[in-house]
Symmetry: C2
Subunit: 324 residues, 2 copies
């Protein structure tokens, strides 16, 4: 159940974190480095990762200062990966505004990403409890995201990858960052490896649920709410949970569809794809798969003490129920 009280708590947390990020105390100079950092953090983002980290930390009774530093660190880290991924993927919009390399250029965006990553390290190094272990887990999480991005790039040109390959890639690219959001507060609360490993699994599960759902929303939701151009996966001929499920469930018909729709205008192709996914059962099966990962994520939360656990269950449902 996602109660109104909980939604209000989330909204307040988002607002507070957003304010801290929008007023992050970067130096004024050099503007070449810091203007893009300010620009990136001024974007209209949902701050889901630091919210998750904060809720988990509160459940474990973590010191407030440590929690604030860690929350800012994961959002900076997340933004580092977005800025560099947007260059790598030639994306022009992010959160409804031009990406850094679109507004400035590649060089500026490369350095902005580097700067965000370094600032993320500075923020995480400010936590006082278990500092060394937290720093190591943080850096390893960053590596996992890069490994995931590498697989994603490898798969772009490989038409033989399977749904399992995709899920492995997603565990790294999306799951590892969400794992950080629950493992780091656990480490700040001196939890043992058993708890940490269960929470890492939570991150992988909610990450996979989230990404599969993202692929679905990319095709089926309203463009305005996504804050980016809908159908960009289609334009880029990206392999998503839906296309890989289609290849798995209905290889022949999917292959026929792809041949038939090649060269069609993007709107027409998108409409055809929607119909294909619905009629073939691909949409239903993919949605069920996302749901299963979200359910697993809820089960993983058993290691979190009440009453905080209830809030994290509500957070998981909040993510699951999003429609953009």
């Amino acid at each position: 159940m996602v109660t109104d009280d909980f939604l209000q708590k989330i909204a307040e947390l988002q607002k507070r974190l957003d304010g801290q990020l929008k007023n992050y105390p970067f130096p004024q100079q050099p503007e070449y480095l810091y203007d893009p950092l300010r620009y990136v953090l001024a974007g209209n983002a949902k701050r889901l990762r630091p919210v998750l980290l904060t809720l988990t930390g509160q459940a474990f009774g973590v010191d407030e200062d440590d929690l604030r530093h860690a929350a800012l660190a994961v959002e900076l880290l997340h933004n580092f990966t977005l800025v560099h991924d947007d260059i790598m993927d030639d994306d022009l919009l992010r959160h409804g505004q031009p990406t850094v390399q679109n507004k400035w250029d590649n060089a500026t965006a490369i350095l902005a990403g580097d700067g965000l990553f370094i600032e993320a390290h500075r923020a995480i190094s400010r936590v006082r409890n278990n500092t060394q272990r937290v720093g190591a887990v943080f850096n390893d999480g960053a590596l996992a995201v890069c490994v995931g991005q590498a697989y994603d790039k490898e798969y772009e040109e490989n038409q033989t990858i399977t749904l399992n390959d995709y899920l492995h890639m997603t565990e790294k690219k999306t799951g590892a960052m969400l794992s950080l959001c629950v493992e780091i507060p656990a480490l700040l609360a001196n939890q043992d490896e058993g708890v940490c490993s269960q929470l890492r699994k939570f991150g992988y599960d909610i990450g996979k649920g989230f990404q599969i759902q993202d692929d679905i929303l990319e095709i089926f939701s309203d463009a305005d709410e996504m804050g980016k151009s809908l159908g960009s996966d289609v334009i880029a001929q990206k392999q998503t949970a839906l296309t890989l499920m289609a290849r798995k469930m209905a290889q022949e018909q999917w292959s026929e569809f792809c041949q038939r729709s090649e060269g069609q205008p993007i709107d027409e192709k998108l409409t055809g794809m929607r119909t294909f996914f619905k009629d073939s059962g691909v949409y239903a099966e993919t949605t069920a798969m996302a749901e299963e990962y979200f359910n697993n994520a809820v089960s993983d939360l058993v290691v979190i003490p009440d009453p905080g656990r209830e809030e994290l269950v509500a957070f998981t449902n909040f993510i699951k129920n999003r429609n953009y």
Copy 2:
């Protein structure tokens, strides 16, 4: 004095470090991430930074394992900055081989740089003494390098910058990394802030000497030995120690020379520039400035105990005497 014994010691150190870097235990997969990392470290590099770090650590009697981790970390960090700078500056060659974005593409090179930076953090986190402080100084050094790179990019389009601006930029872009190479071993040997700050100054001084000399060699040395295309600063119309000194010492004549040589073939322009710098006294004055920074660097070494100090003096002279 740079004795043959010392040169042999340096050569052995370079060889050992080079071997460790060329056999760095990266995973095989994903190749998209790790192939470029192996490629970068297989390059024909001089390993000056880890050599400096190792000599300093030996002077302070630092634990060998700690020293090895730190030496590898600074070389990984240095290579991270090279890979990203080469994209930002559109450089095609590095150490005589194609740069990563030239051999692969921008996306691959961005991720390779990120991977090197993360691996650098992993390496530095393996030191056992003073781990937290060492990690913080390491990350702050990385930030200084990015700040320096940002100023460098800002200055590209600013024809009013002075020699002082250039020296400030160089202190960050080149000096900060060399400061790390002496401050980190000092921290590993539990030296106090007085020693550390003096050693940071050493890094800035040798860094400025090194960069000014680099600008001179770019115009006056043999192309083959530089391992990159000579005159690339001229082609890019880069502001260097020489051009800024020319503007300072002989503004009018320099401005005339620039107008006169505009549009000339690059060989002709380079020859003309050499003559101009020699005849106007710019070459002599710039060389004297580099020499002064190297002399200051030698003076800074007073905080290092003998007999190690003598080796670091020899190292400084070894850098100063390089001709490529």
